[in-house]
């Protein structure tokens, strides 16, 4: 038996998310009295692979094959299923991000393993496996029980703290059989030089109260000072002030950063569904009765276009002295 974790890499590098996943897997493995095996697909340097041991992986399985340069759901799931079988994995853990969401469902059917997606913490029971997950778009949690022998969990970013274990992992190359690759990627447009919304620990988000796209430089400046990602509410992306990829809320992205700034966002229920799991929310709005203040920890009643420049000055001073 083992706990298998898929650790995705970005241009050969792991991120904090990868270490959160391994730490989470290590805790589950400890409870099940077994070990963590990490699967890495693509070219990653040995030192980086060994780093997975720091967070609790006893073994790292490396699959290097040019056919796997782009995500093909069938091919990646063939790799994960074969690795799981080889390692006798009863629990498989993936990230609840685009890749994890693309792969976990197919793997669930392939392995007849019950899938609980979007978990935010450790299981409350291991036999049977019961884990809490977000439901009703952040408005509730559901405790879901796995009825099959094997289970698959997808973990939300930023919901499990990394724990160091300092294991020296064995690194093993693996060449599983691959099906024909059907996904032909013709163009890749990677975001560079910006903090991704999905990775961000701090998010600065603007709403209709910003009055227009020309006022976004303040949001970008504050985000830059804080090392934050930028986001927006639905009306802002619908108006085309910002791209759809920045929309957070019920029909956009669901995020859970440590700190979320809602600037000029009234906080419609659909918006709150996407951000209410943030650990700390700061709201600036002219309307003292805006629903955002019910979800916020700290609030400022005022015109964001007046308050934001003061915030920028104050945060700059803070950053300069800390």
């Amino acid at each position: 038996m083992s706990v298998l974790v898929y650790t995705e890499n970005w241009d050969g590098k792991f991120k904090k998310l990868s270490f959160e996943l391994v730490s989470y897997a290590a805790k589950i493995a400890e409870e099940l009295n077994t070990k963590v095996v990490a699967v890495s697909i693509g070219n990653v340097e040995k030192a980086a692979l060994a780093e997975l041991g720091k967070y609790g992986a006893s073994k790292v399985i490396v699959v290097c094959n040019g056919e796997l340069n782009n995500l093909d759901n069938k091919a990646y799931n063939a790799v994960l299923a074969q690795a799981a079988e080889k390692e006798g994995a009863n629990v498989i853990i993936l990230a609840h991000n685009n890749k994890g969401k693309a792969l976990a469902p197919g793997l669930s059917v392939k392995m007849k393993a019950g899938l609980i997606s979007g978990v935010t913490g450790l299981p409350s029971s291991y036999s049977p496996m019961v884990v809490k997950k977000k439901s009703f778009t952040g408005a509730a949690f559901a405790n879901v029980k796995v009825l099959s022998e094997k289970s698959i969990l997808t973990l939300f970013q930023n919901s499990y703290a990394v724990v160091e274990k300092n294991i020296e992992p064995s690194i093993e190359e693996f060449a599983p059989a691959l099906p024909a690759i059907n996904t032909q990627v013709t163009n890749v447009d990677k975001v560079t030089g910006k903090i991704l919304l999905s990775d961000a620990e701090i998010v600065v988000s603007g709403g209709r109260g910003m009055k227009g796209p020309e006022n976004w430089s303040g949001i970008e400046e504050l985000a830059q000072i804080l090392g934050a990602a930028t986001a927006c509410s639905r009306p802002v992306s619908d108006e085309g002030w910002r791209g759809h990829s920045e929309h957070v809320g019920q029909t956009g992205k669901i995020i859970a950063p440590n700190l979320y700034f809602a600037l000029g966002i009234s906080g419609a229920i659909q918006h709150l569904g996407g951000v209410s799991s943030s650990k700390c929310i700061v709201a600036v709005n002219t309307d003292k009765d805006a629903p955002i203040f019910e979800a916020a920890d700290y609030g400022i009643i005022g015109d964001v276009r007046k308050v934001l420049p003061d915030m920028i000055t104050a945060f700059k001073e803070f950053k300069a002295s800390n």
């Binding site: 995705e8 970005w10 759901n73 069938k74 799931n77 890749k99 969401k101 693309a102 792969l103 976990a104 469902p105 197919g106 669930s108 059917v109 392939k110 007849k112 393993a113 019950g114 899938l115 997606s117 019961v130 009703f136 778009t137 408005a139 509730a140 949690f141 559901a142 405790n143 879901v144 029980k145 009825l147 059907n182 996904t183 032909q184 990627v185 013709t186 890749v188 999905s198 701090i202 759809h244 990829s245 019920q250 029909t251 956009g252 669901i254 229920i269 569904g273 209410s276 700390c280 700061v282 019910e294 920890d297 700290y298 609030g299 400022i300 009643i301 003061d310 915030m311 104050a314 945060f315």
Partner: protein, 249 residues
Amino acid sequence: MKILVCISNVPDTTTKIRFNAEKTEFDKTGVQWIINPWDELALTRALELKEGSGGAVECVDVASVNLIDAEPTIRKALAIGADKAFRVNAMPKDAYFVAGQLAEVVKSGGYDLVLCGIESSDYNGSAVGGMLAEFMDYNSVSAVSGINLDGGKITINREIDGGKEVLNISAPLVAVVQKGIAIDPRIPNMRGIMMARQKPLTVSEPTGIDALTSFETYELPAPKAACKMIDPENVKQLIDLLHNEAKAI
């Protein structure tokens, strides 16, 4: 080409979420039901593809796994413009069960392109589309924000963690779609609503697939402490609180 759009019946997005006293079931009292927002965008895009295909797309049908009380939602999909509808008469137990039932609809209808919304706004599983592809052994792409047909070629825009990709993939295909796939969902017009009453809605009984998971109990998030208000003239206090109290910076 035949397109099937899978439809989930979900509480209206403004619904106050409540559960029964035992916290084992969602309280449906007074709830308005809608087409899951992502499924509605999928249907809208499917209809655009059909209209722009010069006859190459033969039909856009919808399928849902649900009891009879979901029929108004399914009729709405017909009113928006779907040609036919299928309802598998069963409580949707979990994503695996639902995908297994939908696979029967896909098989019997011979659909070569299936569109599913990336998640439903109630159970947020992000699972049915990917599971359906595996049941059918179809190709699949997730996080699809654009889809175009050019003859037999399918071009897809997909969001990846850290950017976007354009790709080609062949049918039969399950595309799991998200925001961006269509600008605004279509709203049924009066003619559509009238026509929807005449369109076929076929009901079938479920096949014997067991669920792999069960939803045991629900919890509501702990109520938040009251928001601390800060004087807009004293923004420094915010920084002090974020640093020393919340330890967020």
